[in-house]
């Protein structure tokens, strides 16, 4: 089960710089995601002539952004060979917390700042709870994050039992607006990519992949595997929180169930992007592509004007084929 490159990553770099190991076989799944994305984009452009217009591109990115953010966070957890089934619940929790804080404090600038800070803090705290249970208490990740997810969405329902409330226009106009001529959503996506690029250069990232490759080997090499897994869950909490904030900007209101569908979709996006659920292999860029692939599949099906009742099946089949294709490609010619 552990991939062959399990032991290669950690702590072998000179002078604290991590070694760059690049195997073509590892890049291939990621390449497949690029190809699939291009095919889908081309199809979409044919079906929807306005597809490449700047405004349409921006609105597509805005629509796919929440899933992309959750998928980015999920990637770190999956790289350590864990999983976070509470990510969607964290999105909901943050979403309703932010909206509630902003509204009850009167929608002033200060309340918006406090709401944003509280939302991020809530995401980090939720991630820390997951990390504590899995890494410190050694609970099984699937069951644990399912249970914490129930708790998080329970708290979200407590804060806001039904979809509603409003954020002041400043919030959503800023989210829909531009900074230096570039739409805010693109800044956010670029920020996530930058974060990933920085993390990928840290020793932490190599320790993370080593942990995912073989936790025993990583432990025996002296890596702090507990801390590594804990941090991955906290990162996932952070990105789920950002997704929750993005959804506030998108919908201008709160919904305690808004994140529900994002949990399994984020896992799908991560796998579509070429990250192995067994850990170690993959990366954030692929997951962003995976999220966009899922979004574009929805678009293509919509613009293909398939009868409503066919849409789900076709979508399911395309996703299944893409998942299977990615896994097969990742294996490459080695077998």
């Amino acid at each position: 089960m552990p991939p062959p490159e399990a032991g290669e990553s950690p702590a072998t770099g000179a002078a604290g710089r991590a070694p760059r190991v690049r195997l073509s076989a590892k890049q291939r799944p990621y390449l497949l995601a690029v190809i699939v994305l291009l095919v889908l984009a081309a199809t979409n452009a044919i079906l929807q002539p306005t597809f490449l217009r700047f405004g349409v591109v921006t609105s597509n990115i805005a629509a796919f952004l929440p899933l992309a953010l959750v998928a980015v966070g999920q990637t770190y957890v999956v790289l350590a060979s864990d999983i976070d089934l509470s990510a969607g619940a964290i999105v909901s929790l943050v979403n309703v917390s932010v909206v509630t804080i902003i509204e009850t404090m009167g929608g002033t600038g200060a309340s918006i700042a406090l709401g944003l800070a509280a939302g991020v803090a809530a995401g980090l705290a939720a991630g820390a709870v997951n990390g504590f249970c899995v890494a410190v208490l050694r609970f099984q990740p699937i069951v644990t994050t399912f249970a914490t997810g129930i708790v998080f969405s329970g708290i979200a329902l407590w804060i806001l039992p039904q979809a509603g409330r409003q954020v002041p226009p400043e919030f959503y106009t800023a989210y829909a607006g531009s900074v230096l001529g570039v739409p805010a959503v693109i800044w956010i996506l670029a920020g996530a990519a930058l974060f990933a690029a920085v993390v990928a250069r840290l020793r932490y990232y190599h320790a993370l992949r080593a942990t995912g490759g073989s936790i025993h080997a990583a432990y025996q090499t002296g890596l702090p595997v507990g801390r590594v897994r804990f941090t991955a869950y906290v990162i996932c909490g952070l990105f789920s929180a950002l997704a929750g904030l993005a959804l506030v900007g998108e919908t201008a209101s709160g919904d305690p169930l808004i994140g529900q569908a994002l949990t399994l979709s984020s896992v799908t996006a991560v796998v579509l992007g070429g990250t192995a659920l067994s850990g170690c292999v993959g990366g954030v860029a692929g997951s962003i592509l995976g999220a966009f692939i899922l979004g574009l599949i929805g678009n293509v099906i919509f613009f293909a004007q398939l009868p409503f009742e066919w849409q789900g099946l076709v979508q399911g089949l395309i996703i299944l084929a893409a998942l299977a294709g990615g896994v097969l490609m990742a294996r490459g010619k080695g077998e």
Partner: protein, 319 residues
């Protein structure tokens, strides 16, 4: 003596049985009548549905290699839909419906199993993809509206007292439990399941047909989910498109609470039955408590975490 008691308390089944007793007594104290026979029958009925889904989940998990089946919920809905549409409220159609549903759902599960074994797609991914296909297919077939109704005889069999005041669905569950335990403990197939779950390489060297065994496990999981669909249809008469979704993750939890390791190769179905009872009891106690839904949800999640603390912990890396 003390050591033996300590040993016994570490057994998941013991913990689950104690949890059942505590929940029953606690429920009776909180709201008198909770442990009344009538209430017990309802509890057993609800637990039967979860228990039969969890049976399939249990098989797949026992087979190891990160075995898990996320498609069970979709297949339950599909089984119920298919059964209802074949039956069309006619008793004569029960047998053909049963045969068709079991065959179709076995085939769906087997397709996942082949994806896992021959294409070597990780089970979580394969069954997640299959879930999407099954749900999409259901929307296509139903157009989102419930269709098909149970035959009256099926309703009677499942909900009416059959023996000792217990409805037929409970006996169906007991039968599934007996058959499954026999399958796992008394047949070559069962030994093979534990062998591939515990150590696949060793099992392969010993001549166990690893792929065939694992593919069959997924097929059986599909079949048991389909069977649950029929039970669900009999219980509720007609079934909504997403009716099975509620079983997906709880079926995994029931297996884990029952002491089957998610790593595969150790555990059994008796524990899972107890696990299903614990889950249903817990939910039902929370329902009788006079607290809002979010409070129930939070307590449920925290209790699950507490159960994990009791014995769901993974081994230390040291030693």
């Amino acid at each position: 003596m003390q050591a033996r008691i300590a040993q016994l308390l570490k057994q998941p089944l013991t913990v689950a049985v104690i949890a059942i007793a505590v929940l029953l007594i606690g429920g009776e104290l909180i709201s008198p009548g909770f442990a009344s026979p009538r209430q017990m029958v309802t509890l057993l009925t609800v637990a039967s549905l979860l228990g039969v889904v969890a049976a399939g989940q249990n098989l797949v998990i026992l087979g190891g290699r990160e075995g898990i089946d996320l498609s069970v919920g979709g297949i339950v809905s599909f089984g119920a839909f298919l059964a209802g549409n074949i039956m069309q409220q006619s008793d004569a159609n029960i047998a053909p419906a049963l045969a068709a549903v079991l065959a179709a759902t076995f085939a769906i599960g087997l397709a996942s199993g082949l994806g896992v074994t021959w294409l070597r797609i990780p089970p979580l991914v394969m069954t997640l993809g299959m879930l999407g296909v099954v749900q999409g297919g259901l929307v296509l077939l139903t157009r989102g509206v419930p269709s098909g109704r149970a035959a009256p005889l099926l309703n009677d069999l499942i909900t009416d007292p059959l023996l000792f005041g217990l409805p037929g669905i409970v006996f169906a569950w007991i039968a599934v439990g007996a058959l499954l335990t026999l399958l796992l403990r008394r047949t070559t197939f069962g030994y093979n399941v534990y062998a591939i779950g515990a150590n696949e390489a060793a099992a392969a060297l010993a001549g166990v047909p690893v792929r065939r065994t694992r593919a069959l496990l997924f097929g059986l999981s599909g079949l048991l989910s389909g069977f649950t669909g029929i039970l669900l249809l009999g219980y509720t008469e007609y079934v909504f498109v997403g009716a099975g979704d509620q079983y997906m993750l709880p079926s995994i939890i029931a297996v884990v609470i029952g002491g089957t390791s998610l790593a595969g190769g150790s555990g059994g179905y008796v524990g899972t039955m107890a696990g299903a009872l614990v889950l249903v009891l817990l939910q039902s106690i929370l329902t009788t408590l006079n607290i809002p839904p979010f409070g129930r949800q939070i307590i449920f999640g925290v209790t699950l975490l507490g159960l994990m603390l009791l014995y769901g912990r993974q081994r230390r890396l040291r030693g």
